[in-house]
Symmetry: C2
Subunit: 230 residues, 2 copies
């Protein structure tokens, strides 16, 4: 059984806050817990907040361009862009929700590193083997609706490679690399909600074999030369 | 808190099996449970299994073409195709894993209907308000690794529209339609595993407000004229 638990009672996060300390104060962790931390509070804690006049669409557009290395599609107010990290998402991660009016958050510079810092600090406090995933809400090609995905991780595999293992009928599976980091982020979103103010969730009961060093950027971001849709 | 529980002890499913009966015999359901049922067992129960010579790549290719309305990309053994249902996935859902050698499964003709039948039968037995999601394992653009998504649903919303609600700072959210059906399918996959032979999972503890009539085809499949990547 897997349990998904909201971490309640966290204060409003601002620049310079120590997220690991806030989390450790709010919940008693167990071995092999995975903490799923919303990008928004990581960006705030890391000071990735910039002024942005909500009445000036061109200022927003300039900021989106600055955060992009490539624009894939544009339609009215929506820009689908590739970020420096290799993520393809709306407005290159520039986000004006859940910040004060006149501000926007940018994606963390390196969300794998953000995850590692939180994991290391929690490990130092508790001695437990833990995983941390930084999640964000992305759209997808071909399907309506947003889902939460992992933009950074530490201590928990991003991909689990089941290639070469056998299925239930003893046939070799040829290609089944599952992105458990995205599935964990999606699961966490179900208790988080967009507006509920629950920025951290614990996912408990995952297989201990999945806990290892990892990186969303190395494992999940598909390199250009292997990508059929960029 | 949300719990994700494997339904253990189900027999190997074959054509004509009554999935609702098998599920009801294997687990005690509670109000607002969502059953996530793997496409593979739905296809088997519905007889969507066809002979396919594993030594004949052209036979496989013909079958993939037959299941496709449009081919988006082709590279060596991989065809990314759009199915009759509007799903974009590898090999139009033709799948040779977890079936006997010499066979392949096709996607259910109408997975929303498959979900509805199971939900109706479980509701008739238990009187409980329940949701059913039929899940399959799809690749994505831009990101490595597969994740489970919903290809059919009944009784539980596919999309939850948070547009117009307020975020934690009182700002209006402009566009946050979350595809909870895909997030629930992804969460279920974490206890299912590819090779573990757990074709049905219960997700317990979801918001009761999310339980309503629904359809993956109507809500999640993005119409062509709104799709920037087809």
């Amino acid at each position: 059984m897997i349990s998904i638990l909201p971490v309640e009672g966290l204060p409003e996060v601002t620049s310079g806050d120590n997220l690991a300390e806030l989390i450790a104060g709010a919940i008693t962790l167990q071995p092999y817990d995975v903490l799923v931390v919303t990008q928004k509070v990581v960006s705030k804690a890391e000071g990735r907040v910039v002024p942005l006049d909500p009445a000036d669409p061109e200022a927003r557009q300039r900021l989106v361009r600055h955060e992009s290395v490539r624009v894939l599609r544009e339609r009215e107010e929506l820009t689908i862009a590739e970020t420096r990290h290799g993520f393809v998402c709306a407005n290159a991660g520039v986000d004006q929700s859940n910040v004060k009016s006149g501000q926007a958050t940018l994606l963390p510079t390196n969300a794998d590193r953000s995850a590692r810092r939180i994991r290391d600090a929690l490990h130092a406090r508790t001695g437990l083997q833990l995983g941390v995933i930084i999640s964000d809400t992305f759209g997808r090609a071909w399907r309506n609706g947003l889902t939460d995905v992992a933009i950074g991780c530490a201590g928990i595999a991003a991909l689990v490679d089941l290639r070469g293992t056998e299925d239930a009928l003893g046939r070799k599976l040829t290609s089944t690399e599952v992105c458990i980091a995205d599935e964990i982020a999606a699961a966490a979103e179900l208790v988080k909600g967009k507006a509920a103010g629950i920025p951290v969730v614990v996912v408990r009961g995952l297989q201990s074999a999945w806990f290892r060093e990892s990186s969303v950027r190395r494992e999940v971001v598909r390199p250009h030369h292997l990508d059929l849709f960029r």
